[in-house]
């Protein structure tokens, strides 16, 4: 088949193109270098500036229409309690030895909840927000098991439409070009909204410029693969209720190994199991054949033995028969001779008695 130079070059280009394409895909599929959506937003919380006024809690309540709180937001005694986020409060501020820490969804770069959800009810949006879709949620609460920050809550007392509740990063407001409720209201600028990449730089600038005021750690920069919320503080984070032992491995990576073994099992188990079955079956077959051979051998040997005995018997019988015949013949001849002798004797003696001769014949039989 002839092929023109132009065609050949065309094919070569196509082949190279495909190869490059596959290479690009392979690179994109590896999550080793995952940095999150570019230009996604986040919030930096500077704990050193927080005065524990609970204004952020109030704004959150208003924006998310969470209803009247148990205690009014100007009641600051609740700061001494240990509170967590729940269906009534998407954000809470706790006080630890005079230092305040704000808790809400950290909007992970690679969210544990989204990775854990078996109906994709959680989605990491390009704005940086982790959004929850109530209409898909079955209510298994695996997201709450998975979340390393213990943020998602559940409306356990709702019998018909229970749902997971958590901070939305005010995603609807961000789309409208507004700030998240808590950031907007904060009177001390302890909360700063911006591009995450800029916030990381800002955090480190503050830490570097006032190194005596800050701990050398931007919480959320690397924790669990990084979060959209970032924190800087003047005391170690584990003293203000934030775990420092979470590590930097993202949640999806923690389970990727176990998930990856699934297709391997699907691929290999049929081979292994059918193999085991075939071996077991073959063993049975061989055992059966061996048994049959053994039985056949036994039958053969027995038959041979029997035939031999039979032949011997036959031989013996034939011999005996021959002997018997010979004897009979001999006997008959002897008797005939005797008779002839007697007849001769009788004729010599004159008239013989016929009855005597007849009875003598009968006895011979």
């Amino acid at each position: 088949m002839a092929i023109s130079r132009r065609k050949f070059l065309g094919c070569l280009t196509a082949a190279l193109g495909t190869t490059t394409g596959v290479g690009a895909l392979a690179h994109a599929a590896s999550n080793k270098d995952f940095k999150g959506y570019p230009d996604s937003f986040g919030v930096l919380h500077d704990s050193t500036k927080c005065i524990g006024c609970r204004k952020c809690e109030e704004a959150c309540n208003t924006v998310n229409e969470l209803g009247k709180p148990e205690k009014p937001f100007d009641d600051l005694t609740v700061l001494d309690e240990r509170r967590r986020t729940d269906e009534a409060e998407y954000t809470v501020v706790n006080k630890f030895n005079g230092v305040f820490a704000k808790t809400q969804c950290n909007h992970c770069q690679e969210p544990a909840c989204a990775s854990a959800c078996f109906v994709k009810a959680f989605k990491k949006d390009k704005t940086g927000a982790v959004i929850y879709d109530e209409s898909l949620c079955v209510g298994c609460r695996y997201c709450m098991v998975a979340c390393p920050f213990n943020v998602p809550a559940y409306t356990y007392n709702d019998p018909l439409t229970p749902k997971v509740t958590k901070c939305t990063l005010c995603h609807p407001r961000i789309i409208e070009g507004k700030l998240p409720g808590c950031v907007e209201i904060c009177p001390k600028e302890a909360l700063i909204f911006g591009k995450r990449s800029d916030l990381v730089k800002l955090a480190w600038t503050r830490i570097t410029e006032k190194s005596d005021r800050y701990i050398q750690h931007v919480y959320g920069e690397h924790e669990m693969g990084g979060t959209s919320w970032l924190y800087i503080a003047g005391v170690p984070f584990d003293q203000i209720g934030m775990r420092e032992d979470l590590g930097t491995t993202s949640a999806p990576e923690l389970t990727s190994g176990a998930l990856a073994s699934v297709p391997i099992v699907v691929g290999l188990w049929p081979v292994l199991l059918t193999g085991v079955y075939a071996i077991a079956k073959r063993k049975d077959k061989i055992a059966k054949e061996e048994q049959e051979t053994a039985v056949q051998d036994a039958i053969d040997t027995a038959t041979e033995e029997m035939n031999k005995q039979l032949a011997q018997l036959k031989d013996k019988m034939t011999k005996e028969q021959q002997t018997a015949v010979a004897n009979e013949v001999k006997k008959a001849l002897e008797e005939a001779a005797k008779k002839a002798e007697e007849e001769a004797k009788a004729s010599e003696e004159g008239d013989a008695d016929p009855a005597d001769a007849a009875s003598g014949e009968e006895e011979d039989k």
């Binding site: 079955v138 389970t255 063993k283």
Partner: protein, 389 residues
């Protein structure tokens, strides 16, 4: 088999009365659960989203129903035909076990009418729970098909029965694959939360541990259930079942002991890989050793002694002991060592109604099992199909 039919059946046995009471209470709790929500009957909270209904009904239910795939694999794949009479009861227990797991999930999840969502509406393929859900759904179907010959024999559908029986090997292989996957994935569920599960129980091998322990859990459950059935349903068993039963107990006891020793081996490897030895000296370490030595090593030794001396009673005790050990292990991972870092006030303990629902579900299972073994050829072979294997 119908030796009771000529005398009127006595409904008022102590066990039947107990069953009626439990089912009645369960019905009330069911109304409370679906009328007033999960919060009305459970002690679950935002820190402890999974409790007894996941720890026992799901994790233990699935592990203890592993007898179905282990027994059918032993008989049909490994060719150990002498276990044939154990296959049907094991398949039935497995089928009921999985059906009850799904039934129990309706109580635990918030909107049970959406349980088909992960399979038919929105597939969260990155989730191990999706893996579990898909496999449990498929395996329940497989178990149902594997169980149908008994029903067909009872109903006299010969042609349908013949078709299903021809599929035996295929169904068995499919069942082993699905079981491998979801048994292990149940353990892997917790791999996403290394910060919440105590390091002695958290491991990168969690999925392997769950799979291997499910095998000896299933074997033990077959022996355990068999000894209960012999006590109460002896009259339902035919000569084949009775003559093979001792061999099943001995064989399964030997296998369980062997696998448990292997399990101990990989547990030690896990300790070494994560270098968790120093935790053994703590209170959690003592509790861990109770589980590993008290509820794996000791019953494994009892199993091996029983198998060597051919003492069926020892094997039966070891089986019950091992079943308890599996329950302890699953409780440790899902509840006791989970959230170990939380202050005591935030820890979980099941409420009385929660425990009530779990007992109710167990009794539903026992009642259905009794009905099916009374009506269908499970513990005996149907006289018309005796010559077929």
């Amino acid at each position: 088999m119908e030796n009771n039919s000529n005398q009127p059946y006595n409904w008022f046995t102590p066990f039947n009365i107990l069953t009626a009471v439990v089912l009645g209470v369960g019905l009330v709790l069911t109304i409370a659960r679906f009328g007033w929500g999960i919060g009305a009957v459970t002690n679950l909270d935002n820190n402890n989203p999974w409790g007894l209904w996941i720890g026992f009904d799901l994790l233990c239910g699935v592990a203890l129903a592993a007898g179905g795939f282990t027994t059918s694999a032993a008989c049909y794949i490994f060719g150990l035909k002498r276990f044939h009479s154990a296959v049907r009861p094991a398949i039935l227990t497995a089928f009921l076990g999985y059906a009850l797991v799904v039934f129990a999930l309706h109580y635990d999840v918030g909107r049970p009418w959406k349980l088909p969502y992960p399979i038919f509406v929105s597939q969260g393929t990155s989730s191990l729970l999706f893996e579990v859900g898909l496999c449990v759904f498929l395996y329940l179907t497989v178990l149902f098909i594997e169980w149908t010959p008994a029903a067909f024999e009872w109903l006299g559908f010969k042609n349908l029965r013949r078709i299903v029986v021809k599929l035996t090997l295929l169904l068995t292989i499919f069942g082993v694959i699905l079981s491998t996957l979801h048994q292990s994935s149940l353990g892997a569920l917790f791999m996403i939360a290394p910060s919440k599960l105590h390091p002695l129980w958290y491991s990168g091998y969690l999925h392997v541990y769950f799979f291997i322990s499910a095998i000896f859990a299933g074997l033990s459950m077959v022996v355990f259930e068999g000894s209960l059935a012999h006590k109460w349903l002896h009259h339902k068993m035919d000569d084949t079942h009775l003559s093979e039963a001792d061999g099943v107990v001995l064989g399964f006891g030997k296998a369980a002991s062997f696998i448990m020793m292997g399990y101990l081996g990989i547990k030690v490897i896990g300790l070494a890989v994560d270098n968790n030895w120093h935790y053994l000296g703590t209170g959690w370490g003592a509790w861990y050793l109770v589980e590993i030595i008290g509820f794996v090593l000791l019953p494994a030794i009892l199993y091996s002694v029983g198998a060597r001396e051919k003492k069926l009673k020892l094997i039966r005790i070891a089986a019950a002991w091992t079943v308890l050990g599996i329950v302890l292990n699953r409780f440790n991972i899902s509840m006791i060592a989970f959230n170990y870092h939380l202050p005591a006030a935030d820890r979980y303990f099941p409420s009385i109604p929660e425990i009530g629902v779990t007992i109710f579900i167990v009794f539903v299972g026992i009642t259905v099992y009794r009905f099916i073994t009374a009506k269908m050829p499970i513990l005996y072979e149907h006289p018309e199909y005796k010559e077929e294997h």
